[in-house]
């Protein structure tokens, strides 16, 4: 250990080198498995890279540099792919992440508040049960919900049939084609990107998956709010809802904002879930940027286009990261905190 042996006189220089030594392993590894592929990806995004070039890579003699054609093709929907429009997918992707977080956070907070009510019976039972969706891997959740929304044998249509027959006197079994129907049930809800039934099915499944985590975070934060605040507020005559908006919400905010940001980025790239539930269908209406990128690589095998697409995703994610980083200040260091 050269560093340990260095004399006191060199200690200043030693301290200047030390952090880089600590960073060395991570950057060595990342150099090979992250930065090299990243640069490679940028290079082939300007080529017509296809399956036949896989053997020789960049050394392939017939590999052509075609400039920004791949990018133009993606943006102008000139790819020979049915139902693909980059900006519609982008809009849907943002809406998907945003609409999820907008539902999960308030629901999580309200349910946490409900369970925090003093004197509520079976509180521990509820807390234990409500955590279950968090502990099941999303992949399993997606596959199970795929079967629940199965149009012929799925539990959702069966549940709706039972409800309609018992309460509304229905005679016909409910038969909703959750993953097939391409007509949006609420036309014009999101201008430019029609939301099909598959979107609502995914929202239901992801709501089941998403709110409990928010509730767990909110519960932790609720329990750290000093109780004297509420006592003082009630002495001053504040009502329940005044206390909720004046004390609970502001004090939950520092915990909920990072959780919401985390939820947003998670939903934004929720590959496993979306891919296992709808595969992006029907008619690519639930396609996210990541699932389309996967299709380009796995099914269409247009590696050049896929690379350009990956670079675009990177750009989009960078913008999202810079904005959310502003919000959470994740890169703030110890001294500045």
């Amino acid at each position: 250990m050269a560093v340990a042996k260095s004399s006191v006189g060199k200690s200043k220089r030693k301290n200047a080198v030390l952090p880089y030594l600590y960073l060395l392993p991570a950057f060595l590894i990342m150099g090979v498995i992250t930065f090299y592929p990243l640069i490679y990806q940028v290079i082939i995004s300007f080529t017509n890279f296809e399956s036949k070039h896989l053997l020789l890579g960049l050394k392939s003699p017939e590999l052509e540099f075609i400039g920004i054609k791949n990018y133009i093709d993606i943006f102008t929907a000139a790819l020979p792919v049915e139902n693909f429009n980059f900006f519609r997918v982008l809009e849907f992707n943002f809406w998907w992440a945003l609409s999820n977080v907008m539902l999960h956070v308030p629901a999580g907070v309200l349910i946490a508040v409900l369970l925090n009510t003093e004197g509520l019976w079976f509180k521990r039972l509820y807390r234990a049960a409500y955590i279950l969706p968090v502990v099941v891997p999303p992949l399993v959740v997606a596959t199970v919900w795929t079967n629940i929304f199965d149009e012929r044998y799925g539990a959702m249509n069966q549940l709706l049939t039972t409800l309609s027959m018992t309460f509304f006197g229905g005679t016909e079994p409910v038969y909703i084609r959750w993953f097939e129907d391409v007509t949006p049930p609420i036309p014009g809800f999101l201008p430019g990107a029609p939301l099909t039934l598959a979107y609502y099915a995914m929202m239901i499944a992801n709501f089941w998956l998403g709110w409990p985590f928010m509730s767990v975070v909110a519960t932790g934060a609720l329990q750290s709010i000093p109780k004297d605040l509420y006592e003082a507020a009630s002495i001053d005559g504040a009502t329940g809802s005044q206390q909720f908006w004046g004390i609970t919400v502001p004090l939950l905010r520092p915990a909920m904002i990072p959780a919401a940001v985390y939820g947003f980025t998670l939903s934004f790239n929720l590959f496993n879930f979306v891919f296992f539930m709808t595969g992006g269908g029907p008619a690519r209406s639930t396609e996210l940027l990541v699932t389309f990128a996967y299709n380009l690589v796995r099914n269409l095998r247009w590696y050049g286009v896929a690379a350009a697409f990956a670079v675009i995703i990177f750009g989009v994610a960078l913008v999202v990261f810079l904005i959310t980083n502003r919000i959470t200040r994740a890169t703030q260091n110890y001294q500045e905190a």
């Binding site: 392993p25 508040v113 992949l139 590959f271 995703i313």
Partner: protein, 335 residues
């Protein structure tokens, strides 16, 4: 926003929820208690609905698809579990192999990411140095690039490492040595088509989260301890190994476990890279049992598989719940 606030307001007022969790106590009025119980039970029902559905299916011996909704098992049959354990898919791979592959992959990636991330997290948490912000952004780059975005170059890169048996009986390790007779040789091992190679590729996406999660925790460890150690004559390395690491063990465990769960369900890279059934993982098998490939799979078998994939993760998660949630929030709640 205002309308949303108003609706929430009215909900709070309507339920008269006491957000403080303080007063009221035993004298929560009965009607309100019953109302809250009703809501809590409704939520409970919605939470339990898919779980009961899949558990009921898994205990069924019927291979036909369910014709009506059943949420409570009418019979407890382990036929489906037995079939899944005996022969999980049409591929020549046993359940034990699938389990082992999944386990080794998640374990390896979790450990590797942790080992590499911990020193980096320490550097970011404790030192001020030139380029700090830039380097930190660089570490977070893979978060911006989903695994599939780097898959092609990683495929090509890992594909170059191959072990071949030459015609003359010698072994060539590409890209370092090639067969002397210039022949292509017989492929013995391809890093790309192996769990080890996929593990390397997966580590790329596991690192940033590990660094972020550990740094957040290290930030909360008081510096006074390290300063005291320095006064006692400990150098930076001793401080790191003997003071910081022991204090960070709970968070190391949580970070490892979150990496483990995240990659327990890894699908993209395994599906793109692995071609031999003996390397398949549980997540890949589950995909084979659902969606377009699933027409021939009885749902009771699918349900049993889903329960099996979920169970190990669920059990450990529940056991470590407190630490995980605490860990996630210390990692994020700042400023």
């Amino acid at each position: 926003m205002t309308t949303q606030n108003q609706t929430k307001n009215s909900i709070v007022r309507f339920l008269n929820i006491n957000t403080s969790g303080q007063t009221g106590g035993r004298n929560l009025p009965l009607w309100r208690q019953l109302l809250l119980q009703l809501i809590a039970i409704a939520i409970l029902a919605s939470v339990m609905f898919p779980i009961m559905y899949v558990v009921t299916l898994s205990f069924s011996s019927k291979t036909t698809r369910p014709s009506s909704l059943e949420l409570f098992p009418k019979e407890i049959s382990f036929v489906a579990y037995q079939q899944v354990l005996d022969k999980p898919t049409g591929n020549p791979v046993t359940f034990i192999e699938l389990l082992r592959n999944s386990f080794m992959l998640s374990m390896g990636v979790g450990m590797a990411a942790l080992a590499i991330a911990v020193t980096a997290a320490y550097a970011f948490s404790r030192f001020k140095f030139a380029m700090r912000e830039v380097l930190m952004v660089l570490v977070f780059i893979p978060l911006l690039m989903p695994a599939v975005g780097l898959s092609t170059p990683l495929y090509l890169l890992l594909n170059q490492v191959q072990v071949k048996e030459c015609k003359d009986g010698a072994t060539a390790i590409q890209p370092f040595t090639t067969c002397e007779d210039g022949s292509k040789g017989k492929l013995q091992f391809n890093l790309r088509d192996s769990l080890f190679g996929v593990g390397i590729a997966m580590t790329a996406s596991a690192l940033p989260f590990a660094v972020w999660n550990l740094k957040g925790y290290l930030d909360t460890i008081p510096r006074e301890l390290e300063e005291a150690a320095a006064i006692d004559g400990a150098d930076a390395n001793q401080t790191f190994w003997q003071i910081v690491i022991p204090l960070a063990i709970p968070q190391l465990a949580v970070t490892f476990f979150l990496g483990f769960i995240g990659h327990w369900q890894e699908f993209v890279l395994t599906w793109l890279f692995l071609s031999q059934p003996k390397d398949y993982t549980l997540a890949m098998t589950l995909y084979n049992m659902t969606g377009q490939y699933a027409n021939a799979i009885p749902w009771n078998r699918f349900a049993a598989m889903a329960v099996i994939v979920a169970l190990p993760v669920a059990i450990v998660y529940i056991a470590l719940q407190r630490n995980i949630v605490g860990g996630l929030t210390t990692g994020s709640v700042k400023g």
